[in-house]
């Protein structure tokens, strides 16, 4: 392992200072929580210049309104778990709680988790399902991008040089019943992981909207939108025949990678989808 001599760490206190540093030094490496940077190759020791976002308070803020919540990119996963269920979607809390250990969650940040979303199973799948948008800022402008378009086809984040992911906007109020469950097969925690994500808007005992997907690292969110559309508008509770139909079509239609196309996993996914659809009837009454 090479250790850079004279490593320089720049720690701006405001976002503007950080963006100006990025403008002048395009090759500087950004460090947020530091958990991924410590593990990947080249490691944190090997960069001669680092830009630490740790001291920028603007990136740790959470703004809540009736329609959406804006979460700063430097908010830690532990802080997400501490936020009230009225402030952030229940599914986001479930997803954050399923990531790593408390020792990592107190360091790892929302922004870092999103950037690692192509190689580690994180929050990106749920955010894409929820139509979250990311604010990318540079010294002379701001742009917003949808979570589902953040990684390009080759798996690279669509972020331009000099840009920083500053906050994540998640719409609220539309999806009132949510379920996220992390699952894994095999011994290699990075190879066999996937996440079941389901959100539904249920009003007046009928399904207004429904989205069920499987988040797989490297492949993003896999959905069966046509099947979801067939369920939308139905009254609750759904009949067992409908649930059984959804379950069999869902597992067959999903374009899962080969390693996940094993009967045990397909049964598990089908059961989770069926249990979720069944729960819509109970929760809408409750």
């Amino acid at each position: 392992m090479h250790i850079a001599d004279n490593q320089r760490v720049l720690m701006p206190k405001t976002l503007n200072d950080g963006l100006n540093i990025l403008r002048r030094r395009s090759k500087i490496r950004i460090s947020a929580g530091g958990t991924i940077l410590s593990l990947i190759d080249p490691g944190i020791q090997e960069y001669t210049e680092l830009l630490s976002l740790h001291s920028i308070d603007e990136l740790r803020r959470v703004f809540w309104s009736e329609r959406s919540v804006d979460i700063g990119a430097m908010v830690t996963l532990e802080k997400l778990l501490d936020l009230d269920e009225k402030v952030i979607p229940r599914g986001l809390r479930q997803a954050a709680g399923s990531i790593a250990d408390p020792q990592i969650r107190s360091l790892a940040t929302l922004g870092g988790n999103i950037f690692a979303g192509n190689s580690y199973l994180g929050l990106l799948g749920f955010l894409a399902l929820h139509d979250a948008r990311f604010e990318l800022r540079r010294y002379n402008g701001t742009r917003w991008i949808g979570a589902n378009r953040f990684f390009d086809d080759e798996g690279r984040p669509t972020i331009a040089p000099g840009e920083i992911l500053t906050r994540v906007r998640i719409p609220l109020g539309r999806w009132n019943i949510q379920k996220v469950q992390r699952l894994e097969i095999g011994s290699d925690i990075r190879e066999g992981e996937f996440m079941f994500c389901a959100i539904a808007g249920v009003r007046s005992n009928s399904i207004e909207d429904l989205r069920i997907g499987i988040s797989v690292p490297g492949l993003g969110l896999i959905q069966e939108r046509q099947l979801d559309a067939q369920v939308v508008g139905r009254g609750l509770p759904l009949s067992l025949k409908d649930i059984d139909y959804y379950r069999s079509e869902f597992t067959q239609g999903l374009g899962l990678p080969e390693k996940l196309r094993v009967p045990f996993v397909l049964d598990r996914i089908g059961n989770l989808a069926a249990a979720y659809l069944l729960s819509l009837g109970h929760e809408s009454r409750g």
């Binding site: 760490v9 530091g34 593990l39 990592i104």
Partner: protein, 161 residues
């Protein structure tokens, strides 16, 4: 890089390479050997310390993140009255972790008690993850932390009187 921080209640100063990890710093420079180097990837939990009252894997914390922050290890905690509550709680609940994970479980219990006065099982369940040492069950840990919280409350009341 010059960094100053609070280690176990004492102001400390270091001038090490910025990417030196907190784990290496406290073991090599400050000789605190309750923090063990395990996987060095944040998976095993043997290098756990408290950073600003939160559990962290010290192998993943570069020292440039330490400026002005408070680090506590289990050696420091053992000298405090708070540790006595945890010790009594563990004994009352019959919770006897093995020597490899005892320090981590004490730190975990302390973190929970600092966050919640009366912790609930649902809150504590977030602290039980894949690297939970199999020497003890999560259920007995929950009972031990609840017993510790009762001892802590009793001590706080006695102090007020």
């Amino acid at each position: 890089m010059k960094t100053d921080f609070l280690l176990n209640g004492t102001h400390r100063f270091t001038d090490k390479h910025p990417s030196t990890t907190l784990l290496d710093l406290i073991r090599e420079e400050f000789n605190l050997h309750s923090v063990h180097p395990g996987c060095r990837k944040g998976h095993c939990g043997t290098c756990t310390v408290l950073l600003d009252d939160h559990l962290v894997a010290s192998c993943l914390v570069p020292i440039f993140h330490l400026k002005g922050r408070k680090v506590e290890t289990v050696e420091y905690l053992m000298e405090s009255a708070e540790f006595r509550d945890i010790e009594l709680g563990f004994l009352k609940a019959g919770f006897h972790p093995c020597k490899f994970c005892a320090g981590i479980k004490v730190l975990t219990a302390e973190t929970i008690l600092r966050e919640w006065e009366h912790p609930k099982e649902a809150d504590m369940a977030l602290f039980v993850t894949k690297n939970w040492c199999a020497c003890t069950s999560p259920g007995s840990f929950f009972s031990a932390v609840i017993a510790s919280s009762e001892f802590r409350e009793r001590r706080a009341h006695a102090h007020r009187r």
